[in-house]
């Protein structure tokens, strides 16, 4: 369904991502892990065609470069890290923006079906009761749920999430990933998530890409990537020793 072949991308004519290839099937959770600055967010931006790329990215055998923005948005959605809210939209207004790519270009208005989908998306992440609240008055966890509901309303075939659990406490991290998992199972859609927490990767990812200096160090099932020596090589720490030390402290 989603095929990435030998892509190169970066900024100012300098490639940060070099020769990445992978395939993704519907219903699959792929996690991208790697040290800071290895190009994880850059790769996500290329996969959403936010930045130009060389190589081939195809969804259902169509090259995404050839799609117009609205068609692309109906296929791929990127949840970026939004740091500043300039205008206080309500939760409903923000989620409804997710339907933009499904609206008619001549008369862009929300249809009754659009409204049902918006309400359904808010319900999925538990936002219905605060649908009229201003988003600048929400907590970090609630705000992440708003942007997730907006992505659900967009209803793409592939969701790209750039560190969605950042700045969230443990409960919200698990809750957010549960919402994504539930949606993915229900709709048979694929997700690609950049995560730093290897425990969350182990719990939620089906496949993992380990990036190192913009290149694919390893790619495979979560179990294969997380238990071999690749992590130690890329992160340059003895992960097994560190985790064992933490577990011993935990047990004590």
């Amino acid at each position: 369904m989603f095929n990435v072949n030998h892509i190169f991308c970066g900024y100012n004519n300098q490639d940060i991502i070099k020769d990445i290839s992978f395939d993704l099937e519907p219903g699959c959770n792929l996690s991208i892990i790697g040290p800071n600055g290895c190009g994880k967010s850059t790769l996500l931006k290329a996969l959403a065609h936010i930045i130009p790329y060389k190589g081939s990215i195809r969804i259902d055998n169509t090259e995404i470069k050839k799609m117009n923005r609205k068609t692309l948005a109906r296929n791929i959605a990127l949840m970026t890290q939004i740091n500043s809210i300039y205008f206080p939209y309500t939760v409903y207004e923000t989620v409804s923006l997710g339907r933009y790519c499904h609206m008619d270009s001549v008369l862009p208005r929300l249809s009754p079906l659009d409204k049902d989908i918006i309400y359904d998306s808010m319900e999925k992440v538990g936002l219905l009761s605060i649908r009229n609240a201003k988003i600048n008055q929400l907590s970090g966890g609630q705000l992440q749920r708003v942007f997730l509901a907006k992505i659900f309303a967009q209803d793409p075939k592939v969701i790209l999430l750039d560190e969605p659990t950042n700045h969230l406490d443990l409960r919200y991290q698990i809750e957010l990933l549960e919402y994504i998992n539930e949606w993915k199972k229900q709709k048979k859609r694929a997700t690609i998530t950049v995560l730093h927490d290897l425990n969350l990767v182990q719990e939620y990812a089906d496949k993992v890409i380990l990036l190192s200096n913009g290149k694919m160090h390893s790619y495979g099932s979560t179990k294969d990537i997380l238990i071999n020596d690749a992590l130690e090589e890329v992160y340059r720490i003895d992960i097994k020793k560190w985790m064992t030390k933490v577990l011993i402290k935990w047990e004590a």
């Binding site: 065609h49 948005a73 109906r74 970026t80 939209y89 207004e93 933009y100 862009p108």
Partner: protein, 148 residues
């Protein structure tokens, strides 16, 4: 400083052509403006052709600004006060903010012009002086309210 003195209905007729073209143009892109307010990457990911939309918005807003300044000269603060008040009372969606800002901005100009024409009668103040008198304390209030 800008003023409406010696401006008759002919000026209004001439400016209204540009007003209709400009306002129709920008009103076509209210959803895109909502999405762009979350950042360019976010707007692209939601399906907005950001480069095209920005160019068109620049053209239409230049038509509106250019015709207004040609009619009256530079009158400060109205462009800042009107959308701020519109957002406060009618929310942030640009489909409401733009027309309400136009109506409120126009009403504010009439109010300011009445003051400019009567306060030192029979002489007349430039209307820009009155809007500055209203605008400066308004922004000081917003600034200090936000810093608190």
């Amino acid at each position: 400083m800008g003023s409406f003195s010696l401006r008759g209905w002919n000026y209004v007729k001439a400016a209204s052509i540009f007003f209709v073209i400009g306002i129709t143009g920008v009103m076509k892109y209210t959803n895109e403006m909502d999405l762009l307010s979350f950042g360019e990457d976010e707007a692209k990911s939601n399906g907005v052709e950001t480069e095209k939309v920005k160019k068109k918005l620049l053209i239409f807003s230049s038509i509106l600004t250019g015709s207004s300044v040609a009619l009256s000269g530079t009158i400060g603060f109205v462009d800042l006060i009107a959308p701020h008040v519109a957002r406060k009372f009618f929310g942030s969606k640009h489909i409401y903010v733009l027309p309400i800002s136009a109506v409120f901005g126009g009403a504010l100009m009439i109010f300011s012009d009445i003051i400019a024409r009567t306060i030192v009668s029979p002489s007349e103040l430039p209307v820009g002086a009155v809007t500055s008198l209203i605008g400066a304390p308004f922004f000081a209030y917003i600034y200090f309210k936000k810093s608190r």
